[in-house]
Symmetry: D2
Amino acid sequence: MMRDAMTQTTPAQARAPRIRLGMVGGGQGAFIGAVHRIAARIDDQYDLVAGCFSSTPEKSAASAAELGVPRAYGDFAEMAMHEARRKNGIEAVAIVTPNHMHAPVAREFLKRGIHVICDKPLTATLSEAKKLAKSAEGSDALFVLTHNYTGYPMIRQARAMIAAGDLGEIRLVQVEYAQDWLAEPLEQSGNKQAGWRTDPAKTGAGGATGDIGTHAFNLAGFVTGLELESLAADLQSFVPGRLVDDNGHVLLRYKGGARGMLWCSQVASGCENALRLRVYGTKAGIEWSQEDPNYLWVTPLGQPRYRLSRGGAGTGPDAARVTRVPAGHPEGYLEGFANIYAEAARAILARREGAAPDPAVTFPGLKEGLEGVAFVDACVRSSKRNGAWVSLAL
Amino acid sequence: MMRDAMTQTTPAQARAPRIRLGMVGGGQGAFIGAVHRIAARIDDQYDLVAGCFSSTPEKSAASAAELGVPRAYGDFAEMAMHEARRKNGIEAVAIVTPNHMHAPVAREFLKRGIHVICDKPLTATLSEAKKLAKSAEGSDALFVLTHNYTGYPMIRQARAMIAAGDLGEIRLVQVEYAQDWLAEPLEQSGNKQAGWRTDPAKTGAGGATGDIGTHAFNLAGFVTGLELESLAADLQSFVPGRLVDDNGHVLLRYKGGARGMLWCSQVASGCENALRLRVYGTKAGIEWSQEDPNYLWVTPLGQPRYRLSRGGAGTGPDAARVTRVPAGHPEGYLEGFANIYAEAARAILARREGAAPDPAVTFPGLKEGLEGVAFVDACVRSSKRNGAWVSLAL
Amino acid sequence: MMRDAMTQTTPAQARAPRIRLGMVGGGQGAFIGAVHRIAARIDDQYDLVAGCFSSTPEKSAASAAELGVPRAYGDFAEMAMHEARRKNGIEAVAIVTPNHMHAPVAREFLKRGIHVICDKPLTATLSEAKKLAKSAEGSDALFVLTHNYTGYPMIRQARAMIAAGDLGEIRLVQVEYAQDWLAEPLEQSGNKQAGWRTDPAKTGAGGATGDIGTHAFNLAGFVTGLELESLAADLQSFVPGRLVDDNGHVLLRYKGGARGMLWCSQVASGCENALRLRVYGTKAGIEWSQEDPNYLWVTPLGQPRYRLSRGGAGTGPDAARVTRVPAGHPEGYLEGFANIYAEAARAILARREGAAPDPAVTFPGLKEGLEGVAFVDACVRSSKRNGAWVSLAL
Amino acid sequence: MMRDAMTQTTPAQARAPRIRLGMVGGGQGAFIGAVHRIAARIDDQYDLVAGCFSSTPEKSAASAAELGVPRAYGDFAEMAMHEARRKNGIEAVAIVTPNHMHAPVAREFLKRGIHVICDKPLTATLSEAKKLAKSAEGSDALFVLTHNYTGYPMIRQARAMIAAGDLGEIRLVQVEYAQDWLAEPLEQSGNKQAGWRTDPAKTGAGGATGDIGTHAFNLAGFVTGLELESLAADLQSFVPGRLVDDNGHVLLRYKGGARGMLWCSQVASGCENALRLRVYGTKAGIEWSQEDPNYLWVTPLGQPRYRLSRGGAGTGPDAARVTRVPAGHPEGYLEGFANIYAEAARAILARREGAAPDPAVTFPGLKEGLEGVAFVDACVRSSKRNGAWVSLAL
């Protein structure tokens, strides 16, 4: 119990009829599907009522039974069609397939006015991404991209502080995401997760750049509000036989003069999910790490550095609205992910009620998705040209 | 994504019909009720279908509407009676009232065979606790006490390591729980949480000792398996006018020769929820902090200290079965709390199916509840006798 | 290089003729003697010109040759006599023998007006300590006790902040010093350091309490300025056959109402020199660890905690005058120790020049030495009486 | 006191007649000169007996008086000549002037057979560096470059582990050195340190790259043993009016396939001396930070990460020989610096005695100096060509 627990607003207190949710992908052996389901449950604003969990009707039905989901489909197009026609069909669908399937699936639902909550990256290729963006323009449905790290309260806090000018003019961005789970050729011994993530046909032209570099790039942009001018990349495939990059070193030039570095790696032995962001401006800096997400370090020029604690003194409304428990009681990855679902729910419910969108509601969407795929594309192009500076081909 | 994400077993994969859950307490402005509800939802094994959220029917109904709970009651005894009679009435009830109400509420449900999931401490007084224990003996229902910190995966890991002898013979226990939210006389300015927690009639004879000292004491016992022989306590009420202790210093003597210190405080300026456990044996020690719960430090004698990461290399099955996401993706307070609900669900479903209890299922119950209330009682007795050594009056 | 390196005052810039120093103890195989010699050298204010390094003339001469020290003695009394008579004899002597020799050695030099810099604890017994204090009264010489942890700049900073009222009224002191080097019966296999430190005839009645508990007790007093009212102790000898305590749990009551806990241990597996001090007042707390000594955490009530960095923004003159290099360039144990020597040099040079003592010069002396030995005595008395509250027998 | 304090070999125990040392530079207001003097004193193997501390005889004499140095010179060439002729003249000289003076001063002493201990970077320009290297070839004297961070024990430990293959094949190097002391235009308001460090005529073509980038580059090479193949740099001068870079982003390609990133900055608000090195190989990684230098993290693939503590279990002889105090008693910047002086002393004494050099003695010299200046030159060339890949022009 903390001093101001009383003043915490939990999303559940703004109760509304639950959103009927479907899911495509996320059957047995999938990782991210389970995460989406928990994220959707935490604040009690969704009911998962339909799913096309696998590519065969049998497997899909088995997953549905196991999950207690009433309606199972073996084909996503069929699912979209049926659900759209059905009274009380789904209002939103979560897409948690490998990357190359995001676009075809999303299009089916968008064109029927069903909101899409899609895992990142947006698509496997930039041309797909652009096509998807075009088709989305013709839809009334919302498109939410689960760049889940933007859901962490202290990331919201950092964004708000930078927007308010607390850091002065931003000069430097240092962002990195280091893992080690692909330090050995896992894809050559049948690991399903490693398999599609290292297969260019499914994951796209970028490996580590697509899987986690996009998170790092997105997070830096989300927090700073800066737009990229150009980048220079040196990508590597350290593991013999690997078809996509497993490590990337990228120099960044932002519009307005800020400069940065981005490192993403899936071969950094001993690193788990070491996503770390540091931003330095003329007045102060901020430092944040995903593995210790409840704290934001603020490093003013000429004053002692201090530590903002989620839910604690000195944090503002942007962090508070995505906070559930008091300071000192850590929240984690699932709560951060759930915040994307909570924000999506706010937007979806506003739509349902015909209300104007709440300007405070914030989640990544098509724009961020396009930028992410364009980031991977630019990294690959630059690296092929020996690190030439290139712009995003948006 | 981590190397062995594929092998993670998430509770949702062992799907079963949801447990019908009720709640007593937890209306508007309550903190811990909301936590229990999220904890019950995370693994999708409960449906909250009834509640006596407040002491008046109107308020209770308003809370139920807000929460989307179909059945509301203004009286817990009535709720117990109706639900017990009802086809598809609740199978379990969560009790989240102030401490002095735990016993009367629990008895009503236990005597009707409804499982109880009760917040801690068990009761406000030791005599109540004993009476409750006696009435529970006559019931077939399960009694689960939410000493939620025992749900943290790395606490399970520590417990397993000590049980396996990895630390050698335990010599020392250092446990502390420091907060600051009562550093000022909050109860004198209408704060509801502070009000009942500093009112001996509602909270019991111990203030900080009851509210958080019991957590520290329970955690030390849970991890080490040691039983207390005696304690010597020096309790203080630093804030003028406060009716219960807000700080406690306690020396511990365990059976078998281990010795320890326990500090609990609600006036340690700048501390949030600093629950920290350190245990040292003849071969090694362990160090853990609730504010950084995904890591367990192991400190062997004569070897470098190492850091076990939840979900990561070197962790065993006791931690894995209460783990949802891979290493480097932090889990937090809500997941730890949810693990108590998940363990309770396993036990409840086994009962429902008439199956033998799974010996791996672990949660605190009446024994721990009694010990906790006896701990507070002993602290108060010892402190009144100027720190004399006393035993638990069990 | 840091922003304000230019304004750092290094002790060497206030050059004066070096102080002629002698040493008793500190021959081959000694640990603390070497530390004293480095500490005396760092700021270039002492010349080590004479020594009685061992108990035989041959060994003492060998050590002197090895160290490049011109004059060697085999008997400390002879050394005191000769050096006192000699033109350009030593002005100060460092005593780095086992504890039971501190008093006889110190008396010989004090009575001849030679300043004493003595390792802690002051003596092995309280009666010796009192006798020494009495004989010191009759001497013009200075007495410096190397409670070296008081030399750390951030400890000076903490002391200054508390004296200035920044923490409000002090309520709580948590201090501990944990090691593991005596977790096994090292003294039974010929280890010289372990041998005398566990021999009551040489070390005194307290083992861990005397060797490191005195440091913890002294540090708490130095920083807070609080005086002890009484203590209650539970001491243990965990290692079979050990003749002195190797672990101590102590409750503290300070005059004015502050309360505390002190833990000292030499059997905490995996701990190195984990001296840690936390103090909490009505307005703020401070937290400091000897193993990470360049930082002082300040934890205000109701504001974010911040980290003061030695040499950095927000630190005051008390820290700055014992600081040599800029923030971010760590200083350590030897520099902290050297600060005691530097402060002693300032006092000795003032004496030499007949100047009034600089009130800013701060070092532990006889008063602190007496309190330390009285602390050990009180712990032993209390523990024998099963943790009864006792006062220091000063 | 620690378990194995007895077995610590302190440099002072291998006593030899002190080396007669001179100094050029390091008068009043200088920072690094004072550091060199303390470093030379800690192990008692040097006597500072002559100096040309400033550019005028008066100032130089004043500094000498203040420092207690017997012989003062106003001209370094005169000093070299006189000292070389003199019986018991200096055997070694420390050069602590601004960068552009290193070469002319060094040449004067080298050509007279006086050993040189020179601050880094070697020179302000690459052509000077090459000329200096050539003149050094004709000298019998030693040349020691104080890349002091290579003196830290845990850096020696890391180097030994990598040389032994503990990390497997090195894939990745991440090195950075972030400060903030030039975040504002300090050089425009008369700060002497900032003045020469931002004046291309004195500091060379690189600002941050020369002052601290060289440290980072050297440290990475020292620890990994890798040789650079090429680099691509993006340098910035963020502060308006600044004539040299104050921030640099550099991509690294090492021979053999390892890749890296180097960041150096003097405008990263809130950073003090954040020199940090991370190296990842096929089997394990290491992580080290200069601001917390007593610990080396080892991060094996597929095992828990562990922390090696200076002086503690698991550290080897390369760290032990530059270690003075036991584990848990921190050493810092000055001890690391002193280790360069201690290693130099070993080499100088071996020369004096005509002994073969001890292969364990390790310190940076002309080769590292040349590489450092070539690194700055390459960064500047690459950045002017918009980040083209260039090699060191050695």
